[in-house]
Symmetry: C2
Subunit: 188 residues, 2 copies
DNA sequence: GCGACTGATGTCAGTCAGTGTCATCAACGT
DNA sequence: ACGTTGATGACACTGACTGACATCAGTCGC
């Protein structure tokens, strides 16, 4: 057994989400989060670069899921199909987590600087997606454009899913959003 | 004559860009910006909400140009054409400002929190664009999707323009980026 | 003219996010 | 035993940002 309770990072993340939801992001101090997690303020900053980052710990996993799904698409698949496979896999992470995702998103939506950080994470995902497409041989600027548009579409689809019933299939909602965007460009 | 030198906001904006370019965003304190502009630190925060915002003062004008150009497109124009008109008008703001835009973009690119703020501004532009499309009768989610994809495309086009020669036509580069994205979806 | 009012600024004290540095001490390997 | 490692605590410090109140040129009504 260690000298301290294990999983300080996890405890901090849970404490932060709770407090942000209870009293709001700005009304919560890092000292309070640390106290609820049973560590000092200094330890908070050893686990998370700043007060916002504590809500986005799972991002790295998401980049990997996205990139590997794009890479795993059949070699003959078109860029659009590979992109779709990636976004569907990404959406899969959230399946069965409708309620948790909704609470987290509500916290983020309630604060400008958290929304700002979320945009940064989405932009990083677009970069990861563009890289994965280039690895498949898609040239620029098509790769970058497709990635940016794809992530934007994911965002829209994800929000639709959150706003809808719990039974809805995230992956299906994302597929439909991509089809819809295809329609805008196909019909001119 | 007033009690103080006029245009404190403009002086602060110029001082900030200079200092951020000279020594970097993080190495510049608000007190230094205020001093160069001949005001106190408190006055800086009366003109700009935070240390980042001082670089983005022109954003409101951009939302208006974008929205009114979309609204001014012929009633019979397709959503894609109206969207294109809006983005081309937006790009027009930067014409003849290649060098200034490049310096500003270099400052932003050099710092994570400035990039973060820029993403927020782009997201606000996507919202303004989606609103303008809806006012033309474009339904959701197509309006939101087209707006998100359109702004993402603008971003890509704008960066291509900045990276290219000064003589290049911003509006033309943006048109080409939109065509390219159309190709991705048309060819599937 | 003159007093009330306005608006931009200065002054000052305070909170809190984030960082650098050194000390502590269980666990682990040798 | 003994040195090393790694996560944490303790503590001082900088700088972004806020709230409250004071100041005073210009303006307006009379």
């Amino acid at each position: 057994m260690g000298r301290w309770e294990p999983d300080a990072g996890g405890r901090l993340a849970r404490a932060a989400l709770e407090l942000y939801a209870e009293r709001g992001y700005e009304q919560t101090t890092v000292a309070e989060i640390a106290q609820r997690a049973g560590v000092t303020e200094r330890t908070f900053f050893r686990h998370y670069a700043d007060k916002r980052e504590v809500l986005f710990g799972a991002s790295d996993e998401m980049y990997e899921v996205l990139a590997s799904a794009v890479g795993a698409a059949p070699p003959a698949a078109t860029p659009l199909r590979a992109l779709t496979a990636g976004l569907v896999a990404l959406a899969g992470i959230f399946a069965e987590q409708h309620e948790h995702a909704r609470q987290r998103q509500a916290v983020i939506a309630a604060n400008a600087s958290l929304r700002e950080r979320e945009l940064t994470k989405l932009a990083a995902m677009a970069t990861a997606l563009a890289d994965a497409l280039r690895r498949r041989g898609v040239a620029d600027p098509a790769a970058t454009l497709a990635a940016e548009a794809g992530i934007a579409t994911f965002k829209v689809g994800f929000e639709l899913w959150l706003a809808g019933p719990e039974e809805a299939d995230v992956t299906q909602v994302v597929r439909e959003a991509l089809d819809e965007l295809g329609g805008v460009f196909a019909r001119g």
